[in-house]
Amino acid sequence: MLPDLQAAFRAGTIGRDAAAAAALSAGGMQNGHRFGIYRNNIFKSLTGVLEAAFPTIRNLVGGENFAVLAHRFVAAYPPRQPQLYAYGGDFAAFLAGFAPAVGELPFLPDLARVEWAVNEAYFEADAEPLAAGHLAGLAPEGYAGLRLGLHPTVRLVASDWPVWDLWGLEALPEPSQNPRPPEKQGGAQRVLVRRPENKVDVVMLTPGDFAFVGALAGGDTLGAAATAAAGAEAEFDLSACLAGHLSGGTFHSRVIVDTS
């Protein structure tokens, strides 16, 4: 019956069930030796989809290792929808649980979150970013009560690893011959991703700036977000931070004036 046949195809391909594949090939299938063509197609095509979404990870671990990751991921998290631009959102969670890779390169899950944020921003809905002119008509005493909505393409990722430095690398760094000064060495980094128009920006934020945008994302007023930012970073400069986000297109053109 058709439901059984289709379930057996699934088991013999992404299910990695060799017995199911053998039974299918041997029973009732002509040219059953070619069943593996379908298995290859499914894994190889989805590996290609993941390589496109996670190019930095692909480069850092190499093609063979990436194929291993992709193969295991496809088996554990097969696509649930046919539009494959949206496939890979669980890759970070998968990597976090894949001991061989994360034991060696513990930053991989967070790097995957950054790459997925870039992928999402690319395909997210278009919208007009907030420009300085949009605020021109508002009274300054009302600024603290503004709720600045974020542009729909904005994504935030915080990591204990230097994920902004890592993103876009084409290979793992060699052991250094020209040491950078200690204050420039990696560590925790916070990243904002956005696509206000036709370019995806990957921006490193200070702790205060990250807290500020995070608070706005949570629906806080400008005043409350500024307070959160000042709490996260003593030297937080609200004016410079806002100027950067206004020119960079972090906010949505819709502004809500607090009436409370």
Binding site: R39, N40, N41, I42, F43, K44, S45, G48, V49, A52, P55, T56, G62, N65, A67, V68, L69, H71, R72, Q83, Y85, Y87, P100, F107, Y122, A132, L135, P140, Y143, A144, W161, G168, E170, L172, P173, E174, P175, S176, Q177, R180, Q185, G186, R195, N198, K199, V200, D201, M204, L222, G223, A226, T227, A230, L238, S239, L242, A243, L246, S247, G248
Partner: protein, 97 residues
């Protein structure tokens, strides 16, 4: 936590608006991917290298995934954390994908 008062916010916003008006202040620490010119491959296109759909059969070799072979010395990893040594080869201006 110390509250940031409305006057401070008003002054900061006013400052930001004038700043934004005169500069295209791009944050110093930004990298970007241009979407046009390096368009992403269609994930549902058949056989495309960066996003294959399998209306095309592909490999002559049965594909079983294999095992993680490891990527580098532990030193490289330690460098990534920036805890023991810095790392080079980083180029903040570099574009990707």
């Amino acid at each position: 936590m110390k509250q940031v008062n409305a006057l401070t916010v008003a002054a900061a916003v006013a400052g930001a608006l004038s700043l934004a008006a005169v500069t295209a202040a791009t944050p110093a620490m930004a990298k970007s991917v241009k979407c046009y010119g390096i368009a992403k491959a269609g994930q549902n296109d058949c056989g495309n290298k960066a996003g294959t759909h399998s209306c095309s059969g592909q490999s002559k070799v049965d594909y079983d995934g294999g095992d993680w072979k490891g990527v580098a010395s532990a030193a490289a990893c330690a460098e990534m954390g920036g805890q023991t040594k810095p790392f080079k080869g980083m180029n903040p201006k570099k574009k990707s994908s």
